[in-house]
Symmetry: C2
Subunit: 142 residues, 2 copies
């Protein structure tokens, strides 16, 4: 169950920045494209900056900039910057420790979940922001 849309918004923001790297873009400008509030954009830009994917300039003419070329930004990096990396959650309550299954199930599940999560991450790593930007441009031209 996908509860957060932060990854989608983050990729949108980065694609927006990638489309014109000549100047900084204000959160207000980006928010208009995303269809949300500038503050929401700044919140996510905060995560992206902390992950080293963007930088920001204050004051007049300021805004957000891509910190490196879109070819060098993978979707995995974006995902890790803004989303919880646990795709599979364990029990909310602790299983009975007096039951053999209750005692042993979580580590077993964790390790199997880890292989699936790793496969997911590996696939995300295959796509770069450049790929997204290119596909968007192609779709827009059609």
């Amino acid at each position: 169950m996908p509860t957060s849309s932060r990854f989608a918004v983050a990729v949108h923001i980065l694609t927006f920045l990638a489309a014109d790297r000549k100047r900084a873009h204000r959160s207000e400008e980006i928010a208009a494209s995303v269809g949300t509030n500038p503050s929401v954009v700044r919140r996510i830009l905060g995560d992206l900056a902390r992950a080293g994917l963007t930088s920001s300039q204050l004051g007049k003419g300021g805004g957000a900039l891509l910190a490196r070329g879109p070819k060098k930004i993978s979707l995995l990096e974006v995902f890790c910057a803004v989303e919880d990396q646990n795709l599979i959650a364990m029990h909310r309550t602790r299983p009975s420790q007096s039951c053999e299954i209750g005692r042993a199930i979580q580590p077993v599940l964790q390790s199997m979940a880890a292989t699936a999560e790793q496969a997911f991450f590996d696939a995300l790593e295959e796509h770069s922001l450049k790929d997204v930007a290119r596909s968007v441009k192609t779709a827009a031209a059609a």
Copy 2:
């Protein structure tokens, strides 16, 4: 972000059933192992039964049973039975349709998300309930 623990609970329930297929197990008995309320177990058993993974018997001596051998139940089936299959959510609000990026980003993202989700599913499919049951038994013996 993993908001639901249904998959973990479902696997726990099925592992419990797999450990003793000779008789039906009551939701109360299973709930004690999981550490939750019998009604929560019955709710998830309902999903599992709808997916054809378990069956239930009413009345005295009743309870839940595995509908087939644990070797023939993959974790992917369990996941699909109880969880939303979209690991990556799109924007909550609709992006600006007057912006090229806003118009094109979602299908592009969807298709890239689909490859990552597929990789996740493929990995889950590699593990059967039997694998889980075996690992749990091994861990319990140690």
